[in-house]
Amino acid sequence: MRNNLSSALFAAGVTFILSFPLMGLQLTTEGVNLIVATSPAATFGYIAAGVLAVFFVQLFKEQILAQLGKAKPRPGTISNFLPTDATRAKLIKPGVLLIILGALMWPFIMERGATDLATLVLIYVMLGLGLNIVVGLAGLLDLGYVAFYAVGAYTYALLAQDFGWSFWACLPLGGLLAALFGFLLGFPVLRLRGDYLAIVTLGFGEIIRILLNNLTDLTGGPNGIGGIPKPTLPAIQTDPEFSVVGLEFTRRASEGNVPFHEFFGMSYDPASKVVFLYLLALLLVFLTLFVIRRLIRMPVGRAWEALREDEIACRSLGLNRTAIKLSAFTMGAAFAGFAGCFFAARQGFINPESFVFKESVIILAIVVLGGMGSQIGVILAAILITILPELAREFQEYRELMFGLMMVVMMIWSPQGLLPMKRPHIELKQE
């Protein structure tokens, strides 16, 4: 009990110091002078209540824990609540089908706002899946992933602006160019390890952003690039003559293109644009998923994971460590390039503000939260990280506070991520 009392006093004291100066006192201005004012009396009430609560909870910790049920709940993962492996195997196929069906149906059953949000989620899924190759599979900590995203976005924006190239021509190019950047950066830095690699990639991300901001003649600098055309749907026209045209989802199409609604003889629905963008994003995500699933099962994918687990063993088996790392880096960058291309098309306007370090952090958080290497986990995490701040809109200015708190809580509750990657394995039963 005495032991408890001192630790309770300590905890209460800590709570007091954490809350009192910042919440109880306020730096405000009187005229042009800075003064310290005290907060309204109610705030002191909250502080006191908080301190007392911490004190009593600490004091009667054992009793409370006993009340709550003997032991502390073990930190777990969602997998603990999921069915066992055997039933899972049976459920997987219909489950996946159901999800795909749901994703396809989404824009038709949900409202426009929800569809647009889902598009944003899909962009992050793409980014998360791409970074997952680098961080989750190959185990290389990349804090500058957003640079490749920017390369993709600016590729499309610039080519569309200066040469009038279409989205479909720029998409592969954006990916390719981002991959090239990944390759060029990867070449010198991949002999760095761990945190050193992290800071160099971070620096690289910042350099790209500052260059985009400074090279005003090329990139528009802080003004960014506006009026980026939306993607079109290629279709075959037969009426005046046999030709391929792009269907645009606008009221009136630009030259050489046909509005989607006229082509099909429907009335104009502004929401169709949002739906089309969503479906396009979904297609890109499915493609990404498919390609990465294949890659993981190919020798190069196996090598990524092997390298992550044990570099020295890999080398002694004759694997070329630089080539493997470089391939992961390049692949990851390519997907960011695709995502960037699509992002530019969705926004219609890009500037360097969209490619700041915080964006890299959010993508990294998606990968880690998802469970490092697990694709389903990454998808889940992307949904969670994008939706959470949206749901928290009701909390207005507390929104980011809640977001930060959730990140901490989720990591503590489930340090392995939402759905850690599982390999097919055999367990020996112990008798």
């Binding site: 201005t29 005229g31 042009v32 002078n33 800075l34 907060s39 309204p40 109610a42 705030t43 409202e111 426009r112 706002g113 929800a114 647009d116 949000l117 944003l120 901001n213 400074n214 005003t216 600098g221 802080p222 003004n223 960014g224 506006g226 009026g227 606008t250 009221r251 502004p270 644009k273 949002v274 992002f343 969705r346 926004q347 219609g348 306007f349 890009i350 500037n351 503000e353 969209s354 949206e390 809109r393 009701e394 909390f395 207005q396 200015e397 507390y398 929104r399 980011e400």
Partner: protein, 373 residues
């Protein structure tokens, strides 16, 4: 003020929820979205917008509403991030709102306005000064603030004609707003044959400008124009004073904020600022200013009155056209004059204010300002 906002949050969020669920049943309210940064590092400007717009809503409703209908303001937070701005715009479409007061940052207004134009939602930005926004032939996009391309020449002409410095440096913060104005100033100065020795960007958020100041000292610059906001210029003034660098400084309305005197102290005395006329100083706004003070809110923020005016304009147009048809309203806006705390305002074809002039003021160390004329 923050505290008050914080305590209101629960009530507000409840009312937002209610508003959302009863949107169909209650067709009599006129909903106006206030879209701007309520979080993030420019939230302080979002605060100005919110207090201005909400004051307008409150006062219009207290005076009987618009043709008997009440206005309801709903806040949307874009954190000044372009990607969130598009999401917010789509959410506003989704929520069936026809009027937007926002966004604040030009980088947010630009992508969001594509959506508004498409959907026939009328948006009035109280703060975005980038010329590009209204140059795309959009019908639905207006603003109750001047343009960078107006402010720059005003400043440039004043420097060239009145100050006649021997060597000028033009510095900016590499943001859309700051660099835009700085470029316009530089252009005007060069046309007038003034020697611009240095045109350079600094990083937003930087604290230490001593290398730059030493450089200015070495170049013997005697006049510095800064395109950007008050935190950076305040630091620059302060450090320049410490280093004994005695050039005259000038900035746009983004620096014309009491905080600059707080940051720079005595060094802010004599700073030149181009400002929209100080609306809160006008005698006819005395009651309004008092109303802000009663709620312990600060009416002097640059976007408070412009946000108030934006709401007022929408309310007046709705009252006059007796409809919420935005197409009729945008035509009405282009063809009529409105009485607002900013004075009588009217819009040109592009959606910009007609005859919105900036004036040159001298700033004083106690946070006050006086006209140079």
């Amino acid at each position: 003020m923050k505290k008050k906002v914080a305590q209101k949050v629960l009530g507000l969020s409840a009312s937002v929820l209610l508003a959302g669920s009863f949107s169909l049943a209650n067709a009599e309210t006129i909903k106006i979205a206030i879209a701007g940064p309520q979080t993030g590092d420019v939230a302080q400007y979002g605060d100005m917008q919110v207090i201005g717009a909400e004051m307008a809503v409150e006062q219009i409703n207290a005076a009987g509403g618009v043709n008997g209908d009440k206005i309801e303001a709903i806040r949307y937070d874009d954190a000044c991030e372009p990607k969130q701005a598009v999401a917010v715009a789509n959410k506003i479409v989704n929520d069936g709102i026809k009027f937007v007061v926002g966004h604040l940052c030009s980088g947010s207004t630009q992508p969001a306005s594509d959506v508004y134009e498409d959907e026939g939602i009328l948006a009035i930005s109280p703060a975005s000064t980038n010329p590009e926004i209204t140059q795309r032939g959009y019908k639905m996009i207006f603003r109750t603030i001047g343009l960078d391309s107006h402010q720059g020449p005003t400043a440039g002409r004043y420097i060239a004609d009145k100050i006649k410095p021997s060597k000028v440096a033009v510095i900016h913060d590499k943001q859309q707003y700051g660099e835009g104005i700085a470029t316009a100033v530089k252009k005007t100065l060069e046309e007038k044959g003034v020697n611009v020795a240095l045109f350079e960007g600094v990083n937003k958020g930087d604290k230490d400008f001593s290398p730059l100041i030493a450089k200015l000292q070495k170049e013997k610059v005697d006049f510095v124009y800064y395109g950007g906001y008050h935190p950076e210029l305040g630091q620059m003034l302060r450090q320049a004073a410490e280093k004994g660098f005695k050039a005259k400084f000038m900035g746009p309305e983004g620096v014309g904020n009491k905080d600059i005197s707080q940051i720079a102290g005595d060094a802010s005395e004599g700073l030149l600022v181009t400002l929209p006329p100080a609306f809160d100083q006008r005698p006819e706004n005395k009651d309004l200013v008092q109303a802000f003070k009663d709620k312990s809110e600060d009416p002097s923020g640059a976007f408070v009155m412009t946000s108030y005016a934006a709401v007022k304009v929408i309310a007046d147009a709705v009252a006059a056209t007796k409809s919420q048809d935005t197409d009729a309203i945008q035509e009405y806006l282009r063809s009529h004059t409105f009485k607002t705390p900013m004075g009588e305002i009217s819009f040109d074809d592009k959606g910009d204010l007609k005859g919105f002039d900036f004036e040159v003021y001298t700033w004083h160390a106690d946070g006050s300002k006086s006209s140079v004329n």
